[in-house]
Amino acid sequence: MSTYWRTFKTAAWLGWEMDSNWTEPWLFLIYSIIKPVAGAFILVFMYVVIWSINGIADPQSFAFLYVGNAFFIFVGSTLFGTFQVIQSDREWYQTLRYVYISPISYYVYILGRAFSKILVSIFGVLITLGFGFFFLHVDMRFTPDRIPLFIVSLALGLFVLLAIGITLGAATFLMARHSQTLAEAVPGVFYVFCGVLFPLTILPSWGQSIGTAIPLTYWFEITRRILLPFQYNTGLAAFGDWEILAFLLISTFVFFGLSLGVFRLGEYLARKAGKLDMTTSY
């Protein structure tokens, strides 16, 4: 267990170093914040534009999408983080083979690297939310009695994310060239189908079915129930808070189990196909 812990810590530190060592820490922080904030601003202006074109305000929809987008920063960075570890190690540093043949568990190594990404993205989320609350007057509320529920749901949400990320990361062993595509496609699918920016009800019914099958949908639902002071018809009202939490917990276990399996399989197949240290420059 202690070796795993050491590996995890080392990997988290390594991830931070690799991501940030190209510049000074304060520049890196600004960099980590500018991307998500600019992303939020696209949405803000989409709202501003449709509001001023049609002359009708809709602050509830705006709060809905603003909060959803802020929390989506976690999704992007966690998923991208786990993909990128395998991808960049292979293509850029060409160190994957050394990391891989060393006795430390690569699985824990990836977890550690992803963890450092989550830590950085917390800044992005907090800044985005804070900016929205103080400057854009996004209709949010945060009462102390909701803190325990919030922490539990956040932790569960992040666990599910990590587990999904690793499951898909394992798949990148199988598709050297496509992992970048996968890294963008999966968050893209979540962005559209998990009720992040708009209620599921706006999707065609097959889209709604996809949405209700993805655990993240419920995470966004409960997060918004905690943070928004109004009821918004999302089509998920039938699920109680505890039901959602239980569902997230189960999903976490399922995906971690799945990830272990896919990871083993991917590793085995990759070794068999000789893809472990393949580079694809062109």
Binding site: A38, I50, Y191, I202
Partner: protein, 308 residues
């Protein structure tokens, strides 16, 4: 000099040399599109997800706005929403070019240095602009395939209607926008030679902020109407040729009167003129930046060193 080593260096030869170089450098990109068809499929379809997300946002808000509206207002809202959806689809297709400029033009020379090609290029007699030109033409081809697929898919999936009154003007705007965009990419390519791993991060940093300030997903006029810092951001975003280009393309495909005609930055012909200036300006800048940086790199021994 004996017979063997006599070499031509007249103008006709130089033109042929540089045309061949352009073709040579464009080749791997064009052939790349054929060789990895599955990959191209993904790259064409992926942007649809982002487009879908933004389309549904507009539709969701419009659905709320329409609830208490009278028939006349409802019709206006519907028309506006369709125009917004069309704007998103257009922007989503143009994003492919911007990403290509960032990742396959700007960071390309740096990348070539890393994999060891740059010194072989710099040792050859071709003009350096031919090298960049080849990269750009290959990139335009590769990306056009992708952008057009995205556009067609977007039109089909979201039922977008375009009305083109002036196809020639539309083509001119599109073409000049691309030249200006790739001219900017060439300029960046030279600058990136100065940087090391920062290059990757600079490109990453020029994604969302540019999507925002160039109005990829909403009419750029929205920024200018906001006044104050909105205009400042909008002006910065207009320097990236995609900003004005998209604005003009939207005017030419949605009609001047869309959004009540109040969300355009300038009229399309004026925008075309500015784009022309930008195109020429960036190409000239690229030419001098590259010459200067080549000299600098040759002096410091950075043209060839791999992994600093």
């Amino acid at each position: 000099m004996n017979e063997v080593s006599a070499r031509r260096s007249d103008l006709a030869f130089r033109i042929a040399l540089n045309l061949r170089s352009i073709r040579g450098r464009a080749y791997p990109r064009i052939i790349g599109a054929n060789r990895e068809p599955s990959w191209i499929f993904f790259e064409a379809v992926l942007p649809l997800l982002t487009i879908a997300a933004y389309v549904f946002i507009y539709r969701a808000i419009a659905a709320n706005q329409i609830v208490n509206a009278n028939a006349e207002t409802a019709a206006r809202i519907l028309a506006n929403t369709n125009a917004l959806v069309a704007s998103v689809v257009l922007g989503g297709a143009m994003v492919a070019f911007w990403l290509n400029v960032l990742w396959s033009m700007a960071s390309q020379l740096y990348w070539e240095k890393e994999i060891g090609n740059l010194q072989l290029y710099m040792m050859a007699p071709m003009n350096r602009m031919a090298l960049l030109g080849g990269m750009a033409i290959g990139g335009v081809f590769m990306t056009s395939v992708r952008a057009i697929s995205t556009l067609v898919a977007g039109v089909l999936v979201f039922g977008v209607v375009f009305q083109v009154a002036d196809p020639l003007m539309l083509l001119a705007v599109f073409f000049v926008t691309l030249v200006a965009l790739y001219g900017l990419g060439m300029f960046f390519a030279s600058l990136y030679l100065l940087w090391g791993r920062e290059a990757w991060n600079v490109s990453a940093l020029l994604e969302e902020p540019i999507f925002f300030s160039s109005g990829f997903y909403f009419p750029l006029g929205g920024l200018f109407n906001y006044g104050g810092w909105g205009s400042v951001v909008g002006i910065v975003g207009s320097i990236i040729p995609a900003g004005l280009g998209l604005d003009a393309l939207r005017q030419l495909t949605l009609g001047q009167t869309a959004f009540g005609g109040k969300f355009w930055v300038l009229s399309a012909p004026v925008e075309l003129e500015i784009l022309l200036v930008l195109a020429i300006g960036f190409l000239v800048l690229a030419r001098y930046a590259l010459a200067y940086l080549e000299l600098l790199a040759k002096r410091e021994g950075k043209l060839t060193s791999r992994h600093q």
